[in-house]
């Protein structure tokens, strides 16, 4: 199968602190990959490099065979872990912004996801709850026909109803031609969604593999492996 992402010997240093240390990782087309690790493990740094927001110190990062740049940004749909819309906007304005920015933005898809999320276009960004914010952001991200979707903590801090809607929206919009990279520390909620898992600890990949194979091999759920790896 074709690799959407190829990372070789990726290192990122902030002054004297190493955020990522010699990371090697391939992501195949059609796979949902979970980057698992506690806060400060390097998840967001890795994602920001893929999204083209940070530059690596050394190593090679290819998306769809291309170095990170304008080309890759146009095929990567990235959900940051914080709000990125202006307060004065209505949902409709946010949609128009996306439509202008990304040629792969699919308005019909957006409308479908939005109504699935029970959001209305005339709602003001300012008046949305945290869960609604998260749902809107995800709707914008998933409405693009991208090669790689990067979701940074998509279910952190939302209530259980919103969480289920978000998980459903992710499944509904899965397709074999693109890949998804999801960071989370809420492993239990996400684990049945993941094909592959990558455990990141202090900038190093300490365990990676097919989620089902790991479950079989260790007779444990990924959540339990996570606790074993990161717990005391």
């Amino acid at each position: 199968m074709k690799n959407i992402v190829e990372i070789k010997g990726l290192t990122k240093k902030y002054l004297n602190k190493t955020a990522l240390n010699n990371i090697n990782l391939n992501i195949e087309e059609g796979k949902v990959v979970g980057i698992l690790g506690p806060n400060g493990s390097g998840k967001t740094t890795l994602i920001k490099i893929l999204a083209g927001l940070l530059r690596q110190t050394s190593g090679e990062v290819l998306i769809d065979g291309k170095n990170i740049g304008v080309d890759t940004k146009s095929i990567v749909s990235y959900l940051p872990d914080r709000n990125f819309l202006y307060k004065w906007m209505k949902i409709e304005d946010a949609m128009n912004l996306y439509k202008d920015f990304y040629y792969d933005f699919d308005e019909k898809k957006f409308n479908d996801i939005l109504s699935f999320m029970k959001l209305e276009k005339n709602m003001k960004i300012d008046s949305l709850s945290k869960g609604m914010h998260e749902k809107l952001n995800l709707s914008l991200i998933l409405a693009r026909n991208a090669k790689l979707y990067i979701l940074d903590e998509p279910i952190a801090g939302v209530d259980s109803v919103a969480r289920d809607q978000i998980l459903d929206a992710i499944i509904n919009n899965y397709n074999e031609k693109s890949s998804m990279l999801i960071t989370t520390h809420l492993v239990r909620d996400m684990e049945s969604m993941l094909d592959e898992v990558v455990f990141l600890k202090e900038g190093n990949i300490i365990l990676t593999g097919n989620a089902e194979a790991l479950r079989e091999e260790r007779g444990m759920q990924i959540d339990d492996i996570y606790k074993e790896v990161f717990g005391e």
């Binding site: 499944i171 094909d195 479950r215």
Partner: protein
């Protein structure tokens, strides 16, 4: 569905479908939900559902018709033998657990017959 078991998820899904076949909830020739439908229903990665269906097919419990979907086998013998195998596994597990608790076979038998008498009376 909660995937609490330590088995791989595809196996848990296989077991779910197998018990539905054995209990008659789905019968020979019935169409299984599409990969996507079941994926949504169970909130499980579509690739995992696909794997469960492939393994069920390998065990000849289901068959795929191109463009039509996945169907439960119409061979009653296969379903009967599945039922026997599942029963045997349950009994094995039961006896093993009872042994761990320190019961011998005769004691287990008398516990079982007590239970079934009580069940019949109700």
């Amino acid at each position: 569905m909660d995937f609490n078991d330590n088995l791989p998820i595809y196996m848990q899904i296989m077991n779910l479908i197998k018990s539905k076949m054995v209990s008659g909830e789905i019968s020979g020739g019935d169409k299984l939900p599409s990969v996507r439908e079941l994926s949504k229903e169970l909130k499980v990665n579509p690739n995992t559902i696909q794997r469960a269906y492939q393994e069920l097919e390998r065990e000849e419990l289901v068959f795929t018709q191109r463009g039509m979907g996945t169907f439960v086998t119409e061979d009653i013998e296969i379903i009967k033998s599945l039922k026997r195998n599942m029963a045997r596994e349950l009994v094995d597990r039961f006896f093993m657990e009872m042994k761990k608790l320190g019961f011998n076979s005769d004691e287990v038998k008398s516990i079982v017959s007590d239970w079934s008498e009580k069940e019949e009376r109700q």
